[in-house]
Symmetry: C2
Subunit: 460 residues, 2 copies
């Protein structure tokens, strides 16, 4: 696509669409919106705007579409594949001021929210109502960003990804048209499923300006356990057997020994340095969960577990979960002069032990610090590499490992990205993953955004 | 669209594509494929073919597309909105001989199946492996039909609709192209969600020739209970509170007194004639479920339940479930000279007591025998009317009630069809339900099936 550069005339027109403090061409704002948390090269937009209402979004998009200016939505900038980097310049729409919780429909387990709401703030707001929005990607993501990426995380194994927890969307199309999609019934067989085309489309098909999300009752009780195993393979087998048992874990995380080492160092949790499963169960009573944990214990023992620590307290649990979330930051602290790249693939659960062994081996062979951890219950593997900043050779090597890990996942009927999205980083694998159906995806893009102004050069 | 009638030349060409016993223009076969289980007028196809393999389907579709002949897929003919009636004639593809369970991937909780597999046969096959395919629409549906309709049923409240239990599809497009869609990882953020456009599209966008479905571990234990309430409203409130409690029921069905009366008459279960909730819980141990049932009992009591029968045995449970499934047949037996029409809407759970009261009132006012029952945990209401066969006036009245019930559901942010699909019967509500997004649906139809040969005159 041939886009136009943003001219003074464009700026004048765009400036008239929002209040003065919600429009910026200042260096620091352009810089702030030039990169996410990935290794992909920063590219500055030409102007940043902060809409507060869907009509503003509509007006801006209509104008941009007429004038062939690229438009990229911006949530919190926490994505990991370059998803919101405005690689063709143009306009960034930052949704941080469009962050109202419009309505909590307690009696329906639903909330209507704007895209700029940070999911942690939503859950803080919901806590006293005994409800929560389950997808939990860890990072301080916005709901808009989570929808764009179909984000998921440690609770997906029980509660599903963002897709499963969104019922209705209001979307502004590339031409400025405002469209409502979906309904508030918890199930429907009416018409084509447009909602799920927009969820996970990374802002390339339309801009979500409101969402009705599905909430769950906060579990009355939860219990956690940590289990250590002699090998990653044994741990993988335990994951499979626990999944099969119907114990319905709310989290099922696997950390390789090198991750435990770092967590011990930073948090002094005194964990045994070995492949470790962190599991959490939600339920209506302590009694039930105690029995559940006992069953998980028995299964783990059968799989060779040599240490099972059940019933860790809320404090220890929260420390562990935050350690799990802060792993990337910890790794940076422990590897000065190095930066991280997170590899994200998912495979069918039976392929998961082999996948995890393959990733570990690759990092050992390369001699680059590598850390394996995963949402094991979903077969979703992350491998973090700590590459020397500025060492081009090392980053080329990491990129090659990424390719091998993704190819391995695809060969096992898996996916190039379990939860981080395509963005820039996974574009090159789309043909291999989707084959002929990639053409259908491109047709959908052309149908919904014929000028290609929405987050251009992503996805394909 | 202007379709061609099937000529002798066409028949000669089509006949060459399959073995002789898998091709028919015989009266009885045309008649058998002219109607489903709805009240919609039968229309005969011009030819019925029984493909056994995706290449045959591809060849037939390519030919039909070139010659402008309508093609309608056929599962078991059990749908309730006229979905598979070949209203423009042409070719019916009956998938009953394409019914292989290609592979059960026990270790992945997955099975690859052909569209003609009857889901009960699949579950029979899976039982000894300790697995099952959870969507359970009641009727003897095929997997292909379930995918076409995004079917759901009494277990959807816990396990999701068909959509949530399909991972990967092989689809033959209108032009004959064979496309694989989706992957076998349990989650993905890769590309646009094409899979869910095809699920629920009622064979109007492509023909599914293979599916990888998600299986679950058969619950170690299950317990059921029946609770009777002084009013439908009280029962509705109990449903809401049980859903909120996190007890995670596997079924939550509500039957109005008139349904209980019929079941008592036919099955001699001796149930109290009152609004009744049938609930089922799945879990890993009897202990846990006993406690769960006790909690459900306490909640029910708080809501005014006057009889709670926990722990009914497997025999009684199966009898009740089969009674629930056979209700339509029972109603026909109990109303000689009358035939049924099933109204299907879904609303947000808080609107459900009002919805159910509205539907009951409508049937009382009309003086036509009406029966209210529902997948209450999903806010999915069914109202069965028994209309006099041949009494046009009465059927016009039933149609008007249908319109009022659907309009009421839409006014409460619900959907015109919770699980029966659009077919013929719900087309007239699509504009009201989907508004501007209906145009996007039509664009998708035109993009994927430009000649409109796939199940024409449905959905829109």
């Amino acid at each position: 696509m041939n886009f136009n550069s943003v001219t003074e005339d464009h700026l004048r027109d765009l400036r008239s669409m929002v209040e003065p403090d919600r429009f910026s061409t200042g260096e620091s704002n352009l810089e702030l919106h030039s990169k996410d948390e990935s290794q992909h090269l920063p590219v500055r937009p030409e102007v940043v705007m902060w809409p507060t209402d869907k009509r503003e979004v509509s007006e801006i998009l209509k104008y941009a579409n007429q004038h062939m200016l690229p438009v990229t939505g911006w949530g919190a900038g926490t994505s990991l594949e370059g998803n919101p980097i405005p690689v063709r310049g143009g306009i960034v729409l930052d949704f941080s001021r469009m962050n109202r919780i419009v309505q909590v429909r307690e009696q329906d387990f639903q909330a209507d929210v704007e895209p700029g709401v940070v999911y942690r703030d939503l859950n803080k707001n919901l806590r006293h109502k005994g409800l929560f929005f389950p997808p939990d990607p860890g990072a301080s993501a916005t709901i808009g960003g989570m929808i764009a990426n179909n984000a998921s995380g440690i609770r997906t194994v029980r509660y599903g990804s963002t897709r499963a927890n969104v019922l209705r969307l209001t979307v502004v199309r590339a031409n400025g048209e405002i469209v409502k999609i979906g309904c508030r019934a918890s199930k429907t067989s009416s018409g084509y499923d447009l909602k799920n085309i927009f969820v996970g489309s990374e802002g390339t098909l339309g801009i979500v300006v409101e969402a009705t999300v599905r909430l769950r009752g906060l579990p009355e009780e939860f219990l956690t356990a940590m289990a250590t195993f002699p090998s990653v393979k044994a741990a993988g087998n335990a994951v499979f057997e626990i999944m099969r048992s119907g114990l319905d874990p709310a989290s099922m995380e696997l950390l390789a020994p090198e991750c435990i080492e770092i967590i011990n160092k930073e948090k002094a949790l005194g964990l045994q340095v070995a492949p470790t499963i962190f599991m959490e169960f939600h339920g209506p009573s302590k009694n039930q969960l105690t029995e559940t944990i006992q069953m998980a214990h028995d299964i783990s023992d059968d799989m060779g577990c040599h240490d099972f620590r059940p019933g860790i307290g809320i404090k220890e649990r929260n420390e562990f979960v935050s350690a799990r979330y802060d792993l990337a930051e910890m790794l940076k602290r422990n590897h000065p002069g190095r930066s991280h790249m997170v590899i994200d693939v998912a495979v069918p659960i039976s392929a998961y032990p082999e996948m995890i062994a393959f990733a570990s081996e690759e990092s050992q062979k390369a001699g680059i610090p590598g850390y394996t951890f995963s949402h094991a219950g979903d077969g979703n593997l992350h491998q973090v590499f700590m590459g020397k900043i500025g060492d081009k050779k090392e980053w080329v090597l990491i990129d090659q490992i990424n390719e091998r890990i993704v190819s391995k996942a695809l060969a096992m009927d898996g996916t190039a990205t379990g939860e981080h999205g395509v963005g820039i980083g996974k574009r090159k694998f789309m043909q291999a993953e989707h084959g002929d159906s990639l053409v259908l995806m491109k047709n959908i893009k052309n149908m919904l955004d014929p000028n290609g102004i929405l987050n251009p050069d992503k996805m394909f």
